[in-house]
């Protein structure tokens, strides 16, 4: 009886948990593309100047996205086992509650979360002039710097307004292959 109650309570708790409400479906191929793009995005921006010895990417997630974050970290590792351009790639897996863990990161990858976490993460990135990438392109509207445009084909989706606000310059060729986000587009 107690077990049945506990099960019902668990289901109720899970149902009411905001994190559960924001649960998102992540496509493996898209993650793979992100895994390829993210380190290059750093190297093709002025953020590469912040690189000391290694490329540091901070993957911010809610606890519910832990596995996905691990998966992305693995994909990065798989795509760049030797690092890139003589730089090792270090991925920091951190929950949104522990933003300080991403202080040395040149890029924050934002998994879906609630708006407050997102605001805080974006504020953090603005303070540290750190690039932000989100899986969901809809977050560009909130101030994320880059995402993926999933149309007939997949393109980097650049929020040029926020990047300029951070005074970060991107290489032209990267801009050429990217789609420029316009506010309210998506």
């Amino acid at each position: 009886m107690v077990y049945r109650f506990s099960s019902v309570l668990l289901c109720f708790v899970l149902f009411l948990n905001p994190s559960f409400l924001y649960a998102f479906s992540y496509d493996d191929d898209s993650l793979n593309i992100f895994a390829k793009i993210i380190p290059r995005f750093i190297l093709m921006s002025e953020s590469k100047n912040k690189i000391d010895k290694e490329i540091t990417i901070c993957l911010l997630y809610d606890s519910i996205e832990k596995n996905t974050a691990d998966s992305l970290a693995d994909k990065i590792k798989q795509n760049y086992p030797q690092g890139i351009k003589n730089y090792n790639i270090v991925t920091i897996l951190s929950e949104y509650t522990n933003l300080q863990a991403c202080q040395k990161a040149q890029l924050l990858f934002l998994f879906n979360t609630d708006e407050n976490n997102l605001r805080r993460a974006l504020d953090f990135s603005n303070v540290h002039k750190t690039l932000t990438v989100s899986y969901d392109a809809a977050l560009l509207e909130l101030g994320v710097d880059m995402s993926l445009f999933l149309g007939r084909n997949i393109l980097p989706y650049i929020n040029i307004k926020t990047i300029l606000a951070k005074e970060i310059k991107l290489e032209n060729v990267f801009l050429r292959i990217s789609k420029i986000y316009k506010s309210g587009e998506k």
């Binding site: 793979n32 593309i33 390829k36 793009i37 290059r40 190297l43 093709m44 890139i84 351009k85 007939r152 084909n153 997949i154 393109l155 980097p156 290489e171 060729v173 990267f174 050429r176 292959i177």
Partner: protein
């Protein structure tokens, strides 16, 4: 070697140089255009591939193959001359292929204008990640060549028309010169037949024509002056010729005639005797020579003076001459008061008959005022059939011998040599 006319030479030279210069210019220009076209195509192809390769490289490095496909399709759409695009990864696996035509048989005219290929490198790691090959159409090149040919043909057609026009104009100008030369050649100063008026043209041909007209006017004037001088000279020559003829006649008379008596002189007699002798020899006819001497002529001179003596000589000579009725007979003064007569085809009797007539005539009609000392004549006659063995000197000598005999016989006598 046949000579080529000046007109043909000019036409040939102009045609040759025009065609040579035009052909050279067209050839060089066509070469230049083709060269510029190749450079332009090469530059465009190079620009295109250099522009797209970083994007493709980045897409390739990011694994955005669909982006590459879309991008390349857009590039192909924007560049109609692209015939083939082949994108492959570093292991030569084809990632994108495009061919405009069904068959893959492309002709590469010039690799610089036809083909553009580039190895693709990762923009960050600079590792080779693939190759892109683009083949461009030759249509523009062929169109350029066709345009070059068409332009060349048009230019040469224009040159041909201009040359024809030039030749026509040159022919027209030379026609004028030809007419001018024909007029000059047909001109005869004697007939003054120059049908050429001064030209109104101000060019070289007009100047030449006016110079010729002016020259011919001068020639005409000089010819007239020469005609007048010739006429004058001709008249003078005619006059002088007539005078000369007259003088010649006189000279001839003087050379054949005895100046005192007006009958033939001895030299003329000898000439006539020679001719008559030869004729008689050919005909084997008779010839008679009569030697005549005025008897006691010295007494006449002494008595009446030489002037009367001369009158006697003249009178006797004229009388003897008038006695000769045939043209073939001739009397000549042989010397002093001696006369000699030659009679062709006349025998001794004929000669005697003539002499007798002369004597009778002399006694009855002449010198009646001198009856106290009458003028008589002695005659010696010699006649013969002229043969080749006989000489004229012989018969003269015989006549002279007969005359001597007549003188011996008392003068006023007739003696024939055959009677001696």
């Amino acid at each position: 070697m046949p000579s080529i006319s000046f007109k043909v030479k000019i036409i040939l030279a102009i045609v040759f140089f025009t065609l040579f210069i035009s052909a050279t210019e067209r050839y060089l220009l066509a070469q230049n255009i083709v060269s510029q076209f190749k450079k332009s195509k090469e530059s465009k192809n190079s620009l295109l591939i250099n522009t797209i390769s970083p994007v493709i490289s980045l897409n390739l490095s990011l694994g955005l193959h669909e982006s590459n496909t879309e991008y390349l399709e857009k590039i192909i759409e924007q560049n109609n001359d692209i015939q083939l695009v082949e994108l492959s990864d570093k292991d030569l696996n084809s990632l994108f292929t495009f061919t405009k035509t069904s068959n893959n048989n492309f002709r590469i005219v010039d690799s610089n204008i036809n083909l553009a290929s580039k190895e693709l490198y990762d923009p960050l790691t600079e590792e080779e990640i693939g190759t892109i090959v683009i083949l461009f159409s030759n249509d523009e090149f062929y169109e350029l060549q066709d345009l070059n040919k068409t332009t060349t043909l048009k230019i040469f057609a224009l040159i041909f028309v201009l040359l024809i026009l030039f030749i026509f104009l040159l022919h027209r100008e030379f026609k004028h010169l030809t007419l001018l030369s024909k007029t000059v050649l047909s001109y005869n100063p004697k007939h003054h037949n120059l049908n050429l008026e001064p030209s109104q043209r101000k060019d070289e041909i007009g100047v030449i024509q006016n110079a010729i007209v002016s020259m011919f006017h001068k020639i005409n004037n000089h010819a007239k002056e020469l005609d007048a001088i010739n006429q004058s000279l001709e008249e003078k020559v005619q006059k002088r010729t007539a005078e000369l003829e007259e003088a010649n006649k006189k000279l001839q008379l003087l050379s054949t005639m005895d100046p005192l008596t007006g009958i033939a002189n001895r030299r003329h007699f000898e000439q006539v005797l020679s001719d008559t002798w030869e004729l008689s020899k050919r005909k084997q006819s008779m010839l008679s020579i009569i030697m005549c001497d005025i008897d006691h002529f010295k007494v006449v001179n002494d008595t009446y003076g030489h002037q009367v003596g001369d009158v006697v000589l003249v009178s006797v000579a004229q009388m003897i001459e008038q006695s000769l009725k045939r043209m073939t007979d001739i009397v000549a003064r042989y010397g002093g008061e001696e006369f000699i007569i030659v009679m062709y085809d006349t025998d001794n009797d004929g000669a005697v008959a003539l002499v007798s007539t002369i004597q009778t005539h002399l006694k009855s009609n002449y010198f009646k005022s001198m009856q106290d000392k009458p003028v008589t004549l002695s005659f010696g006659i010699s006649s013969c059939i002229v043969t080749k063995d006989l000489k004229s000197e012989d018969i003269i000598k015989q006549a002279d011998t007969a005359l001597y005999k007549a003188k011996e016989n008392g003068r006023d006598a007739i003696v024939s040599f055959k009677d001696l």
